[in-house]
């Protein structure tokens, strides 16, 4: 659905996006993660044809961002980072205006607006000025606007930033619903790792304009870390057991936390069985054995070099 080829954008002095290449597949939620100033918004503006790349190019739904800008604008929906609704106008007037700019006729527009405002729980407030809305309501209305013309790709630039936890949760659920029920392709910029973990199929991490990692979380973890941690919970333990575990080839480090043994092992070895054997055959009582996954936070922090 989206493919970029060495996409680059320089502002005088700053390279905001630096030779970025990635692919977003149909129907997925693609997470675009990075700290503030990483180049997320600039990437969205390039893909939505508001900014022109300094070099490189990209296609959205097969259309080139340099040549088919108007076509692309008519088949994508964008939730901008900052609210961009007319606060002096009502919710209905806002949506009617944008529907007209999308070339929809009055009846079609009204039907679609009713559907969307009901979906987002804003129908009752349609005649109120947007200036009186809460931040959460504004985000919802802005997402409704992005969906007016039933776009093939939806860009969401930090959809939950600045929202209280309850509104943020509502928005996340809405995004999931949009993706599941309607199979929309969603490009989601965020620096909220919890959100990315909950919503995204694949992620790209961008830092200072450069993509430092891309793939499913598991793939990134695989690529990034040479070791994994196995946690063994036992009823009692002693130095003899720890020694036995240390002797297993592939074990890198053994740490004890209460009655839990944290075993760092080389990720190329599959040692679950062997470890369990040592415990049980040594006469110890094995209560649990789990492989600890790296959190997205570990992955992210490693990628951006913190």
């Amino acid at each position: 659905m989206i493919e970029t080829f060495d996409l680059t954008k320089k502002f005088d002095g700053v390279t905001a996006v630096n030779e970025v290449s990635f692919k977003v597949f149909k129907g997925e939620i693609f997470g675009y993660l990075g700290p503030n100033g990483a180049g997320k918004t600039t990437t969205v503006r390039l893909l939505s044809c508001v900014l022109r790349p300094t070099s490189g190019t990209a296609t959205v739904c097969g259309y080139d961002i340099l040549e088919d800008a108007d076509k692309i604008r008519s088949i994508i929906g964008v939730l901008t980072e900052f609210p961009t609704l007319y606060e002096r106008l009502s919710a209905l007037d806002n949506l009617l205006f944008f529907a007209k700019l999308y070339g929809m006729n009055e009846n079609e527009a009204r039907r679609r607006i009713k559907e969307l405002l009901e979906f987002f729980g804003l129908w009752e407030r349609r005649r109120d000025k947007v200036g009186t809305f809460s931040k959460g309501m504004m985000k919802k209305l802005a997402i409704a606007r992005a969906l007016l013309h039933d776009p093939e790709v939806l860009f969401l630039d930090e959809p939950t930033s600045g929202l209280d936890p309850k509104s943020a949760k509502e928005i996340r659920e809405l995004i999931l619903k949009l993706s599941k029920a309607e199979k929309r392709t969603i490009f989601l910029c965020t620096h909220n790792l919890f959100e990315a973990e909950m919503l995204c199929n694949r992620i790209a991490v961008i830092n200072e304009g450069v993509i430092v990692g891309i793939g499913e979380k598991g793939e990134l973890e695989e690529k990034l870390f040479k070791s994994k941690v196995i946690e063994v919970k036992v009823s009692e333990l002693d130095e003899r057991l720890l020694e036995k575990i240390r002797e297993i080839t592939g074990v890198i480090n053994v740490k004890v936390k209460g009655n839990i043994i944290e075993i760092t092992v080389n990720k190329d070895f599959n040692l679950h069985h062997e470890i369990a054997e040592k415990v049980v055959l040594g006469g110890y009582k094995l209560k649990a054995l789990t492989e600890k996954r790296h959190s997205l936070e570990d992955i992210y922090m490693t990628l951006i070099g913190e």
Binding site: V50, R52, D70, T84, L85, Y86, L89, F97, G103
Partner: protein
């Protein structure tokens, strides 16, 4: 063009939902369309020509082919058909600039312009659409004020001098040619300014400056000063139109999506 009209309608709705903007449109309209003609009208004084001395002293003045009997009539004629329409030109200029600052620089300042730039609207439609509302408001308000001020000054002229010295053809040219061309020049200038201005206030101050040369040129032509001596209002309208066309050429070169976003 449908999309340009949609932008105009949206801008008009926004303007009329802001009390502050309504005030800054209505107050000058009242000052120049009502208060000024009243103040001028009250200063009309009839000279007594009925006495013998009066008749002896009588000289005939001709102005635009109109025969005037004494200096007070000359003054009244001059005020009604020269000063008033010239001062009224502050309206198509000032009001257009105020509305343009809100609807162009204002959208930039409030960041809503980004949403507009994301729409499948051609640069040309965007350009025309954004100029329409300020132009229409400027022209309509100025024309209404002009008609009101014509009525008021005629009333004073009839009641104090016995007859109306309103020169209809002068006023017709003012309303039909000068007001639209002045507003056109103001809006095209405002578009250029709004590309550079950081906010509404700055845009207003910068674009409002265009009033000064316009009024100076008009006064120069009315008082036979310098190169504008004897230049008719039709020629002046042509001059404003031409300048507006040059401004719109310049602004069409400047108005591009990237520039508008970058300077936010």
């Amino acid at each position: 063009m449908r999309k340009a009209l949609a932008i105009m309608r949206k801008d008009l709705k926004e303007v009329f939902s802001s009390r502050q903007l309504i005030i800054s449109i209505v107050v000058p309209a009242l000052v120049f369309g009502v208060i000024l003609p009243i103040v001028f009208g009250l200063s009309f004084t009839a000279e007594d020509n009925s006495t013998e001395i009066g008749i002896l002293n009588q000289t005939i003045y001709r102005y635009d082919g109109v025969v005037l009997r004494d200096s007070s009539e000359v003054i009244a004629y001059w005020m009604m058909n020269y000063m008033l329409p010239i001062l009224l030109m502050v309206l198509p200029c000032g009001i257009t600039c105020v509305v343009a600052a809100d609807s162009i620089a204002g959208e930039k300042e409030r960041k809503t312009l980004e949403a507009l730039l994301l729409m499948p609207v051609s640069n040309f439609e965007l350009f025309i659409g954004k100029m329409l509302a300020p132009f229409v408001i400027g022209v309509v308000i100025a024309s209404v004020s002009a008609i009101v001020s014509m009525a008021i000054s005629s009333y004073f002229s009839i009641s104090l001098l016995g007859k109306s010295f309103l020169n209809i053809s002068t006023w017709a040219i003012t309303i039909l040619l000068l007001i639209p061309t002045v507003a056109f020049m103001a809006i095209t200038f405002s578009v250029i300014v709004s590309v550079y201005a950081k906010g509404v206030r700055e845009a207003q101050q910068m674009s409002g400056a265009i009033i000064v040369p316009i009024v100076i040129i008009l006064i120069a032509s009315a008082t036979n000063m310098a190169v504008f001596a004897g230049v008719s209002r039709i020629l002046l309208a042509l001059l404003f139109l031409l300048t507006g066309l040059i401004f719109s050429y310049v602004s069409s070169k400047l108005m591009d999506r990237e520039k508008l976003i970058l300077r936010v």
